[in-house]
């Protein structure tokens, strides 16, 4: 496994990765709290985008309801912490298990009965909506009035209970993002990754080559759900409040997939680049518009939408494939 980590990466690519990682590691020493918060959001979207990418970018299954896994993970770990005092790292196991079970159910229903393409997407939306409405009435976790984690001023960072300052959350999110990135890289170099790509490209041809497409699609659904639930746990402990209307809302699912779409679906760097671009664009837009004195409601969203439109029209494959060409990091001849 570890030998595969650097396989197929050009020297230039490794050098650029090392520089990027060094910069990200050094950020808390130079950045103020505002910048750190922005970077946490960017890393969070990079991570969730990567998790979604496993399902859509690699295995070609369009999920528009990934907020369900964020929400299930968030609620599972938060409820265990609030009600039973179970630390989030232990709650994580429950969060992953619940999301994986949910991903398996959705996957089984869809893949066993041949629900694909837009119909699969609708199924995923439906499940996320069920969850939203269900949690709206789930008294044990506060129902529609929200679920809150105790917030206190901590004198020191408590990593075990995920209570602390933004710097700690930043490093946790950075570690998760790097781990997801490395995992996806290794998977793409393995049989399972090749099989996913085959299914994405042409499922009938994939079957004719002996690939049990049901099984491999299930692997993608389950892995993607589990990875996303981890982000949910982080979400709960970072924001300390959960509202079904927020976490399970379809706009959350859409937000989650914008990064990989802008960055480049099915690429490893796409979710990362997309997340950083979108987050900085959104923040810059905010600053720019308030500096210019436009503060009519919705102006920010309109500009944001226009920028996305430009990127999608100019670079339909996403930013990363184009950028990779410019940086000469794609490997030509092994």
């Amino acid at each position: 496994m570890s030998a595969r980590l650097l396989e197929g990466v050009s020297r230039r690519g490794i050098a650029l990765l090392a520089v990027l990682l060094a910069v990200l590691l050094a950020v808390p020493w130079i950045a103020n709290d505002y910048l750190l918060t922005v970077l946490i959001i960017a890393l969070y979207s990079a991570y969730t985008g990567q998790a979604w990418n496993v399902m859509m970018g690699f295995a070609g299954q369009l999920s528009l309801g990934h907020a369900i896994y964020v929400g299930l993970g968030a609620y599972a770990a938060a409820a265990l912490y609030v009600h039973f005092g179970i630390a989030p790292w232990l709650g994580l196991a429950a969060a992953i298990a619940i999301a994986v079970a949910c991903g398996a159910i959705i996957g089984f229903l869809a893949f066993r009965f041949g629900v694909g393409g837009v119909y699969f997407a609708i199924l995923t939306i439906a499940f996320a909506e069920f969850a939203r409405i269900g949690f709206d009435h789930f008294q044990w976790v506060g129902a529609s009035s929200g679920f809150f984690l105790p917030v206190a001023n901590y004198t020191r960072n408590d990593l075990w209970n995920l209570r602390g300052d933004p710097t700690m959350f930043y490093y946790v999110m950075l570690a998760l993002t790097v781990a997801a990135f490395a995992l996806c890289h290794v998977l793409l170099k393995s049989r399972i990754g090749y099989y996913w790509l085959a299914i994405r490209e042409d499922e009938i041809a994939a079957r004719s080559l002996g690939i049990d497409t049901f099984r491999y699609k299930m692997y993608a659904a389950v892995l993607s759900a589990g990875m996303t639930a981890v982000a949910g746990v982080f979400f709960a402990f970072y924001y300390n409040n959960l509202f079904p209307e927020q976490v399970f809302h379809i706009s959350r699912s859409i937000e989650l997939i914008l990064g990989p779409i802008i960055g480049g679906i099915g690429t490893l760097f796409g979710p990362l680049i997309g997340a950083f671009l979108l987050t900085s664009l959104s923040e810059a837009m905010q600053e720019l518009l308030s500096a210019l004195g436009f503060d009519a409601p919705g102006v920010k969203q309109v500009f944001y939408g226009l920028c996305l439109l430009v990127v999608v029209i100019a670079l339909p494959g996403g930013v990363w494939p184009w950028l990779a060409g410019k940086l000469h990091v794609t490997r030509r001849d092994p």
């Binding site: 790509l197 042409d202 009938i204 004719s208 080559l209 030509r332």
Partner: protein, 242 residues
């Protein structure tokens, strides 16, 4: 020689159309067998039944002595039947090499081993020089070759080829014929092909089955089959007689 593939009384109806009508034949282990017939004769349907895309309404298909007509396409491939598609289905965004690597991974879980095997197969089908191109960039003849390469990479005992010569120039046809003959001789690969290009059928096949309106109207050596009046009338046309 024992039969590797045995098709017994297979029928398939699509609503009003009887696409395959009680077809029976055997393909001997290590032989090359061709199915010919006019368009719409049911050749591809017959193929899809053998490859597990459709279950037959009646009849049975046995491979290496075991019934396979109820198996799914991927299970059939794992048993040792490789296939190509008449309308080619490459993985367009992947390189030619990765297309074949995916086939090779069926029996080689380690990517490096699969890649080595893919290189051998690509060289055999004259695609080695194009291995880094995306499959979508290939010309149709090259895509046909890629279909064969990908199926071959799964190490089949039986290779089903659905009109792989169509659209090839005569020189390319000859090249493909010699590649297939080599595979058959060197590895004892059994080949069942659907083909319109009679030049290839005559050169390759030891036995030929002729389908017409879903039913078998003749079977035998290619030389004998092309002289049968029923075959001439339904398929080859009167001008083929001389």
């Amino acid at each position: 020689m024992t039969a590797l593939l045995s098709v017994e009384g297979v029928s398939k109806r699509f609503r009003g159309l009887l696409a395959v009508d009680k077809v029976t034949f055997q393909v001997a282990r290590g032989s090359i067998f061709a199915v010919i017939g006019p368009n719409g004769a049911g050749k591809t349907t017959l193929f899809n039944i053998i490859a597990g895309m459709f279950a037959p309404d009646r009849g049975s298909v046995a491979f290496a002595g075991e019934r396979i007509e109820a198996l799914a396409p991927d299970e059939i491939c794992r048993r040792g039947i490789g296939r190509t598609f008449q309308l080619v289905r490459p993985f367009p965004a992947l390189t030619v090499e990765d297309n074949v690597v995916i086939g090779a991974m069926l029996r080689r879980h380690d990517p490096a081993g699969a890649r080595r095997h893919a290189h051998e197969v690509l060289a055999r089908l004259d695609l080695f020089g194009k291995r880094h191109q995306p499959a979508s960039a290939l010309t149709l003849p090259d895509r046909k070759r890629l279909e064969v390469a990908r199926a071959l990479a799964t190490d089949p005992k039986l290779l089903l080829l659905d009109e792989v010569m169509a659209g090839l120039r005569p020189a390319e046809t000859d090249r493909m014929v010699s590649a297939l003959t080599q595979l058959n001789r060197e590895f004892g690969l059994t080949i069942l092909l659907i083909e319109h290009v009679m030049r290839a059928v005559m050169a390759l096949a030891a036995r030929v089955l002729v389908l017409h309106h879903g039913a078998a109207i003749a079977e035998g050596s290619p030389e004998a089959v092309v002289r049968e009046p029923a075959v001439i009338q339904s398929y080859l046309g009167a001008e083929a007689v001389e």
